[in-house]
Amino acid sequence: MKKTVVWEKKHLLGIEELSKEEIILLLDQAESFKEVVKRAIPKVPPLRGKTIVNLFCEPSTRTRTSFELAAKRLSADTVSVATSSSSFLKGETLKDTARNLEAMNIDMIIIRHSCAGAPKFLSECVNASVVNAGDGSHEHPTQALLDVFTLREKLKKIEGLKVSIIGDIEHSRVARSNIWALTKLGAKVTVCGPRTMMPAGIEKMGVKVTCDVNEALEGADAINVLRIQLERQKQQLFPSTREYVRNFGITKDRLKKHAKKDILILHPGPINRDVELSQDAADGEYSVILEQVTNGVAVRMAVLFLLSTTRQIIEQAQKE
C-alpha cells in the first residue's frame, strides 16, 4: 500500500534543506503539541518503546533539557551522554561512539557538536534518525523553529514581518538558521553587528546588512538579540565590552528612541545581562524570551514525532 507521506525527512539537519511547506507543517504540528504541554498530565504515548540519545559535545542547559522533556512527554526513553564523562576523553571517534550507541538499539540521536557538519556526517554512518541541536556556526534548526513559532503565535503571521537579528552574526548558528526560516516564510530580515562579526557575502542569503543598531531597530516588528560570546573576546573582535554595550547593547532607552512601541524581543539564551541586552529590556513587557523556552518543548515534540513516524514508515516499506 502506498502511503501519503506529508513529511519525508528521516533527519533534521538544518533549515536550509526544508521547504516552506515543511516548515509550516512543523509549526502547525507544534501548535497541537503546545496544547498537550499545557495538560494536567502533559504526557502522551506515541513514542513508547523508542530510545533517544542526547549526545551533547558542547555545554547546554536549555536545548538539552528541552529535547529531553520533549522526548519524555512523548513517552520515549532518553539517555544523555555528556562528553566530559564519556569515552570521547579516551579518544573514541564520533563515528565509533555513535555506532556503539546504535548497537544498543536506539532510534534517534540528538547531537550538538562544535564542528559544523557533524550531524550530517553522523546521519551517513548510522541508521538512527539524527537531529541537529547545533553544529559549530552552521545551524541550530530547532532554535529557529521555536523563534518563528513564537513570532507567528504573537503576530499571527510571518510573511511581510520585519525582523532584525542583532549581534555576532559570523559565529552564530542561531542567526543562520533564523535567516533561512524567516526568508523562506517571506519575512524581511536585517542583520546587524560589528563589522568584525559580519560574515562576508551574508547579503547573498537575502538579508539587509547594517552596522548601525538604531537603523536595525527602525520599523522592526521583532528583534532577535544574539548572545555575545564573551569567550571570543580573546580574538579581539570588539575593543571592549563597554564599547559593545555603547554601540550595540539593546536598552530600554534605545528602544524608546528608535523602535516601534510594540516591538517583540527574542533572545536564544543564555543572556549576558547588561551586555547585549539590558536588565530592563530583558525583563520588559515585550520580551518573549521565556515564552520561547516554553514553545521550544512543543516544537521539539513536533520534530521528534514527525521524524519518528517517517522512520517507521520507511522501515516498514523496506520490510515489504
Binding site: 497541537s32 495538560r39 498530565i41 504515548p45 513516524t309 516498514q316
Partner: protein, 186 residues
C-alpha cells in the same frame, strides 16, 4: 473499480436519529445535570455539537462540549494509510466527576474508542463514560459496546461507511459502499 452505493441516512434521517439519541440520553440520565459531551475528532466532534444543541432544546440547559484528537494514542501509527497529523484536543472543563457521553460517527473495530478512553482518563476521572455512535457497523475487535446507537447497519468487513456532514463535505448523508461481489471473489 465497480462498487455499490446505498444510502443509509439522508439529511432528515440523520437529524431524527440524533434527536432520538438526545431523548434517550435525557431519559437515562434523568435530565442533563452533570453531563458533558466529548466528540472524537473529526466527525464525532461535529456530531457531539449537534447532540448538545438538541439536548439544549429539550432541557433548556447548556452542556459543556469538548473534542478529542486521538492521533497520539493510536496503536497503528505506521499502519494507517496516511502519515498521521496531530490536531489539538479541546476540553476546556474539568471532566472529573462528570458523566461523559463520548461521541463518534461510526463504531467499527472499537480501537478508536479504546484510544479515546485512554486519552480521556489522562484528563481526569469521570464518574461515568457512556458511548454514543451515529452508526454501529459491527466487527468489533475489542470488548467495547455502545450505549446509544443512531442506526445499526450489518456490513461485510470490506464495506465502507461514509458519513458526510455539511460542515466538512457540504452535504449530509450516510452511505454504505460495497465492493462489487464478483470483483471481491477474484
Amino acid at each position: 473499480m465497480k462498487s455499490n452505493k446505498t444510502e443509509i441516512l439522508d439529511k432528515e434521517g440523520m437529524d431524527r436519529v440524533i434527536k432520538r439519541m438526545a431523548h434517550e440520553i435525557v431519559e437515562q440520565n434523568r435530565g442533563v445535570e452533570n453531563l458533558a459531551i466529548i466528540g472524537i475528532k473529526t466527525r464525532g466532534a461535529y456530531i457531539a455539537g449537534r447532540l448538545a444543541s438538541k439536548l439544549k432544546e429539550i432541557e433548556k440547559q447548556t452542556i459543556p462540549v469538548g473534542a478529542l484528537d486521538i492521533t497520539l494514542y493510536r496503536d497503528d501509527l505506521t499502519e494507517i494509510a496516511a502519515q498521521p497529523t496531530v490536531h489539538a484536543t479541546e476540553i476546556d472543563f474539568d471532566i472529573t466527576g462528570k458523566n461523559i457521553i463520548l461521541v463518534d460517527d461510526v463504531l467499527f473495530t472499537g480501537r478508536t474508542v479504546r484510544c479515546a478512553l485512554d486519552e480521556l482518563v489522562d484528563f481526569g476521572r469521570p464518574a461515568k463514560i457512556k458511548l454514543a455512535v451515529l452508526i454501529d457497523r459491527g466487527h468489533r475487535e475489542l470488548p467495547i459496546r455502545p450505549d446509544y446507537v443512531g442506526k445499526n447497519i450489518p456490513t461485510a468487513r470490506k464495506d465502507r461507511i461514509e458519513v458526510k456532514l455539511k460542515e466538512l463535505d457540504g452535504n449530509e448523508e450516510v452511505m454504505m459502499i460495497q465492493e462489487d461481489q464478483e470483483k471481491a471473489k477474484k
